[in-house]
Structures are given as C-alpha cells and as structure tokens.
C-alpha cells in the first residue's frame, strides 16, 4: 500500500500543477494515470501543437509545457503510478480513502483529487472476433515490457506511428514479427515507414498490406490470427501475441459510478473550493462542471490553487492555514 496525503487521479497538466500547489502547503501527492506517460491530452492528442494562452509563455509546444510542469514539481517528489486505471474509492472509518486501480495498486490518502480530464484514455479496439476473450491470454493493447515478447511470434496491427515503431523495435526481439495494415501506404513518420519496408524487403519481418485481422483462435491461449484481405482472401498466421495499435480514446469509465453528481460526463463541483458532493473529494480541470466553466488549462490551474487551500484542513486538522504569497516563503522542497 502506498501512503500519501493527496491522491490525484489523472496526470494531465492540471493534475501535475496541483502537485505544486499542494507542495507549497507541505502536502505530499501521488498521481495515477491510465496512460503510460504524463501529460494527459497534451501527450496523447497534441504533443507538437503550440499553446498560446499560458500566462507568461507567448507560445509553448504542448510537450514542452508538460516537461516544464514536471520540472516545477520535481522538488516535491510526487509518486507516480502510470499505465493503471483507477477503478474504485474505498472510504475508511476515519474519513480517509483508499484508491484502487485495475492492477490492484492501493493508495491510502486523506484527500482525493479527480483531475481526470475527458476520462481515462483507453485503447481503441478493432472489431476482431474473440478479441476480448484473448485479452491477457495473448492480446495486448500496449507494449509495456518489450522483453516479454522475446523469442515469440508477434502480430501487430495498425498503420500509425506506434505500430511502425514497435514493429521496428520488436523485429530484433521477437522470433517473428508480422505487421498487418488495412491500407497500402503508411502515414506515420516517413523514416519509420521506410525502415519497415526495408525490414520487409530483407525478409526480417512479414508485412501484410490491404488486410485486416478479423478473428483470433486458440485453445485457452492465443495460437493464431486470421487475416482477411481487402480482396476477400483469408489466411491464418500462427502467433503467440496479437498487438492491435489504433491509438487511444477517452472514456469517463468508473468515475461515473462513484455517486458524485455527474452531468454530461463531468463532475458537478462547488466553485467555492471545487469540492464534489462527497467530503474530501475534489474535482478540477476538464472533468468538472459549474456555471460558466471553461475547459482551459489556465482555468484548471486556478482551480488547483483554490482547492488545495481547502484540502489543507483534512491533511493538517490541527493547524490553521494563513494565506501568504508564494514569494514570502519561497518553494521549500521536501
């Protein structure tokens, strides 16, 4: 069990900045995100786009903003659990919470901050027969540990950058790599596409274009995939692992079941301190709603500052908080 003062669900820009505001008040944070990287929408949807409305930064590339936010909170040594989705909140007798993920991680905390944006980013699943049956038995939607594919037969599907990148990487790790793509050209980075064609030309990987995986087979564990060509031809390929890589799309997911007044996929909060209808649970950033709400990073930052002042009473019930400017005390690392 991980113990912390504040557990933040979502490591998007708003969750990250909340660590800074908590740190100024000497409260420790642990963040959980379903994505394997920090940055939320900035990392998943638009890493290379400039943002123009961050005060003091006339234009900043999304990825750079995320890196800066990480630098700004380094001193407060937040904990991270990435690549896991928060499933449940368990209230304890003393008012504190245990936050649990789909992989069994537990975080004990005094305050829960939901900074979940549009919801957790979940893999887009292709329409493949038996796909869900073979999840955990050979079907993977992310490559978390490439070593697990050593000396195995792997089929990847997709035509974007991650399908290309992992095909190239796994070509040296797996026994055999096959990439299946519905089109006949790749749109991903030209270098990577070039490399994939080259590997296929040298016979180091199998490239099956104009085709889609349509069915999985096996006996308890995955043994083969069927590949349907655009010309209706059907072939079967023996395989140990199938990795469909079609990007991620946000889903509200479990948050909808926590009895927190949800309106149009957002959590209703009190603008006094961005608290929800459950004591010790706050919601900030794109995930919350109130009259006049604007889904902007800057608004999420403001909400983080206000809510942390309110959360202080649960972490330090015996102390009174008197507001000072950050420049009065400076930033004091843990």
């Amino acid at each position: 069990m991980i113990h912390t003062d504040i557990c933040i669900i979502g490591a998007g820009p708003v969750g990250l900045f909340a660590v800074f505001e908590a740190g100024l008040l000497k409260m420790r944070c642990h963040l959980i995100d379903a994505l394997p990287v920090v940055g939320g929408q900035l990392a998943e949807i638009y890493p290379q786009k400039p943002i123009y409305d961050i005060p003091g930064a006339p234009a900043i590339i999304a990825e750079d903003l995320v890196n800066n936010l990480m630098r700004q909170i380094e001193e407060f040594k937040p904990g991270f659990t990435l690549g896991e989705r928060v499933e449940a909140l368990e209230k304890q007798d003393d008012g504190s919470f245990i936050v649990r993920t789909n992989e069994g991680t537990g975080v004990h905390c005094q305050v829960v901050v939901i900074a979940a944006g549009l919801g957790s980013f979940e893999p887009r699943k292709p329409a493949v027969e038996q796909l869900e049956y073979f999840e955990g038995k050979g079907v993977h939607y992310m490559v978390k540990k490439p070593e697990q594919f050593r000396n195995r037969k792997v089929v990847l599907a997709g035509g974007g950058d991650s399908a290309l990148d992992w095909t190239i990487f796994l070509a040296d790790v797996a026994e055999r790599v096959t990439l299946v793509h519905r089109g006949d050209t790749f749109r991903g980075a030209p270098d990577s596409a070039e490399k994939v064609y080259e590997l296929a030309g040298k016979g180091k990987i199998d490239l099956i274009l104009q085709s889609q995986v349509n069915k999985l087979g096996g006996n308890g564990v995955l043994k083969e995939v069927s590949v349907l060509g655009n010309d209706k031809s059907l072939i079967t390929i023996p395989t140990d692992d199938f990795i469909p890589l079609f990007g991620l799309s946000p889903k509200l997911g479990p948050i909808a079941d926590w009895n927190l007044g949800v309106e149009k996929s957002a959590v209703v909060v009190d603008t006094f301190d961005y608290s929800t209808n459950v004591e010790r649970i706050y919601a900030i950033g794109d995930i919350n709603t109130y009259p006049g709400k604007l889904k902007l990073i800057l608004c999420g930052f403001h909400e983080a500052a206000i809510m942390m002042q309110s959360a202080f009473k649960y972490v330090y019930p015996d102390q009174k908080l008197s507001f000072k400017y950050t420049t009065v005390n400076g930033v004091n690392p843990f």
Partner: protein, 107 residues
C-alpha cells in the same frame, strides 16, 4: 442551401438542410443538429471522434489532406469511404451526400 442525408443503423435516412455560406464544417453542423459526437479536438483533425462513412457522393468530395489521413489511420474500422466530418466544408458539390455516423458506434 443543399440537402445531405444521414443513414442510421436501420437504413433509414434523415435529410439535413445545410447552408453553404455560413462557414460551418460538417462536424459543427452535426453538433448544431444535436448529434452526440464528441469532436474532442474541436475540428483540428486530431481526435478522430467525428468519423463518418460516406455511402454516396464520395467522388464529389475534396481529397483528404495528410493530417486527416494520419488521423484516420488511428481508427481500427476506417476504410476507403472514411472521412473526418470536421475536414469537410459543405459546398454545392456536396448536395445529395449520404453518410453514416461511425463516431457514434465508436463512442
């Protein structure tokens, strides 16, 4: 004013009257008609949540640009008839277009 048609899963077609002089793209128009599409990126061809399948009239549409094609590649069920509705601006050439809202099935 042109007419375009949305076909639902039962094969029924709804006609939409579309002005061609308002500068709306097709995604914004679908939102205005209160179709429940996410359009997370606000029309930047980044999120793929405004995916449509063109059933009739594909030949009258302008070609997809690179960004649209890149984004369509992230969809498992995209095919040669797939477009991102945010990248289509209604014009007289689009009169009679028939499409299905794939984004609703993906949500």
């Amino acid at each position: 004013m042109i007419n375009i048609f949305i076909e639902n899963d039962l094969g029924e077609r709804q006609a939409l009257e579309v002005p061609t002089d308002m500068g709306f793209n097709l995604m914004e128009l679908l939102k205005a008609y209160e179709y429940d599409i996410q359009a997370t990126c606000g029309g930047m061809a980044l999120c793929a949540t405004c995916h449509i399948e063109v059933l009739e009239g594909k030949e009258n549409l302008p070609e997809s640009n690179d960004q649209e094609l890149d984004t369509l590649d992230t969809l498992p069920n995209a095919d040669a008839n797939s477009r991102l509705s945010c990248q289509l601006r209604p014009s007289p050439a689009m009169d009679g277009l028939v499409f299905r809202l794939k984004a609703l099935q993906e949500a």
